[in-house]
């Protein structure tokens, strides 16, 4: 982890509520796709943890959804603004486990970290298949960007307004070697139940610090212990997960 000052290059809406922010600065503390950064938003006490979508040279791309006042304030930020950002947080996805036909399953604002992962897997010479789920056609973002990388993309919409009607788990291929997923909790749980291989899940949590100090985001794990989503996570292996309730 490093505390860096990053400067906003651009900050644009991709849909009604999903924005793309591009920032530049020292990104050397990011080592894997699936890590996140924690942004100090002026006027708000806690930082906003946002997963990394992509890193290209010294340019960091974040896709975030406006869900509250903090992300509303982020959406209003102008290019040229300098931000205090904790970089290189979390463990990220492990591409070594992917096998030769990895499947990516993303839902809504859980999709962004899978983009950086897809790039890494493709760079390792592995063909990537992705199923990206949205509520409606209007909410679709980044499916073209995945396709431009060379990913075999299927889109699902819950209301059937585009592509396959249903959830990502309704469009699962018959064969894949391993999976990686990120999305809302009900989706992750459905993925857990419907997948027949091992895989990695990226979780979201309300965090205090984002770097392992406050224990605000700990999850119980299958070995009877616990792991901090921010520190040992946010990516957990399927075998580690315990579903509560």
């Amino acid at each position: 982890m490093k505390q860096e000052t990053l400067t906003i290059l651009s900050n644009d809406a991709l849909t009604k509520s999903v924005y793309r922010m591009r920032l530049t600065g020292d990104l050397s503390s990011f080592t894997r796709p699936g890590q996140f950064c924690n942004i100090a938003v002026p006027g708000f006490y806690l930082r906003r943890p946002i997963s990394v979508c992509d890193i290209e040279g010294d340019v960091l791309t974040l896709l975030y959804k406006v869900v509250g006042h903090g992300t509303e304030a982020m959406a209003a930020m102008q290019p040229g603004t300098a931000l205090d950002v904790l970089c290189g947080l979390g463990n990220g996805y492990d591409t070594a486990k992917s096998g030769d036909r990895p499947l990516l399953l993303g839902g809504g604002v859980g999709i962004p970290p899978l983009y950086g992962l897809a790039k890494a897997l493709l760079a390792e010479g592995k063909p990537v298949r992705a199923i990206l789920g949205f509520n409606t056609a209007e909410e679709i973002f980044f499916s073209d960007e995945f396709r431009a990388l060379g990913v075999d993309v299927t889109v699902t919409t819950a209301d059937g307004s585009a592509w396959v009607k249903g959830f990502v788990t309704d469009a699962m291929p018959a064969a894949y070697s391993y999976f990686y997923t990120c999305g809302p909790l009900p989706m992750l749980r459905a993925v857990y139940e419907k997948t027949f291989t091992s895989g990695q899940f990226s979780f979201e949590a309300r965090m205090g610090c984002g770097f392992g100090a406050c224990m605000g985001c700990s999850m119980k794990t299958a070995d009877g212990g616990y792991k901090r989503v921010c520190r040992e996570g946010p990516v957990f292996r399927k075998e580690e997960i315990v579903w509560e309730n």
Binding site: M1, Q3, A40, F44, Y45, L46, R47, G70, L86, A205, R206, M207, G208, C209, F211, G212, A213, C214, M215, G216, C217, S218, M219, K220, G225, Y226, R231, E244
Partner: protein
């Protein structure tokens, strides 16, 4: 440069800054970022007899000036703290550490304190009789003078190191509780623990925190904590660790004028991992600005 050193319960500290328990883990997350030996000391994560996961998620809620937490004393338990955490800490921190403990019965407090009292790295025992996030135990002892005195006397009987009782502000008269601790033999008191609070999510109309309520900490706690430190200083003679919303070197000095011998930094560590280091480094500048030669000399200066 002015003198930053203070003596807390007979142990000299290079400066009065103490990252507060629960915001600094067992130290080594921060040791990856900077040399934590620049701190006066730190109070490690509240340690209980058994390992604890704590409360269900979510257990953090943001406020306009701070946060509510309902962690519920997550920790690996005393056995692993002694066998794993302390040896790891010894590699990166070479000063006496403050050992924070939380019990669910007097017997547990006694066992925890007796065992940690034997650990060479431990300088002080900070006895948490005030956690707002555990259903029984901690909270109740710190809420009455009798309960506070009972735990104090019991842990003093089995320890040689200074025992600092950590007090809750969620009481009618914190002065009476501090006096009860002093009368029962406490070497010091630390105050305040978090203020009991809650938030409700307007989208769901439900409490944000799964446990519904939790402990508020952050800058808005500062004037309340300062007032309580001031009142307790006027009534007791044992040293006080002043905690609550401290975010700057100025806050440290204000807390010392009110009567604190040393000063805890809590929530600030959660938003800036370098907060405690920055406060230590900024103290000489602020001392010079206000003509303070020695921090030890200003303790209780506003009384």
């Amino acid at each position: 440069m002015g003198k930053l050193n203070v003596t807390l319960c007979g142990i000299e500290m290079d400066n009065p800054v103490i990252p507060a328990s629960g915001t600094f883990g067992y130290g080594y997350e921060f040791a990856e970022l900077y040399d934590i030996n620049c701190l006066g000391t730190f109070s490690f994560k509240g340690t209980t007899k058994e390992p604890r996961y704590g409360n269900p998620l979510p257990r953090i809620a943001e406020c306009s000036a701070g946060l509510i937490n309902a962690i519920g004393l997550q920790n690996p338990g005393i056995d692993r703290v002694i066998s794993e955490e302390l040896p790891k800490l010894a590699k990166v921190f070479h000063k006496p550490v403050m050992a924070n403990v939380g019990g669910f019965s007097v017997e547990e407090y006694v066992e925890l304190c007796a065992r940690l009292d034997k650990e060479e790295q431990v300088g002080w025992l900070e006895v948490n009789i005030s956690c707002p996030n555990v259903k029984k135990g901690g909270k109740s002892y710190g809420m009455t003078p009798e309960g506070a005195a009972e735990v104090t006397a019991a842990v003093k009987a089995v320890t040689t190191k200074p025992c600092i009782m950590k007090l809750t502000p969620n009481v009618t008269d914190i002065v009476a509780i501090a006096k009860a601790c002093e009368d029962a033999g406490a070497d010091g008191v630390s105050l305040i623990n978090t203020l009991y609070g809650m938030r409700i999510d307007l989208r769901t109309s439900r409490p944000v925190i799964a446990n519904r309520m939790g402990g508020y900490s952050g800058p808005a706690a500062f004037p309340i904590a300062l007032r309580m430190v001031y009142q307790v200083r006027a009534a007791v003679n044992i040293p006080i660790v002043g905690i609550g919303g401290v975010s700057s070197a100025e806050d440290v000095i204000e807390m010392m004028y009110a009567g604190a011998t040393a000063v805890g930094v809590g929530a600030a560590n959660c938003i800036d991992p370098y907060a405690s280091k920055k406060i230590v480094e900024d103290l000489p500048r602020v001392m010079e600005k206000y003509g303070i030669d020695s921090l030890e000399s200003i303790i209780g200066g506003a009384q």
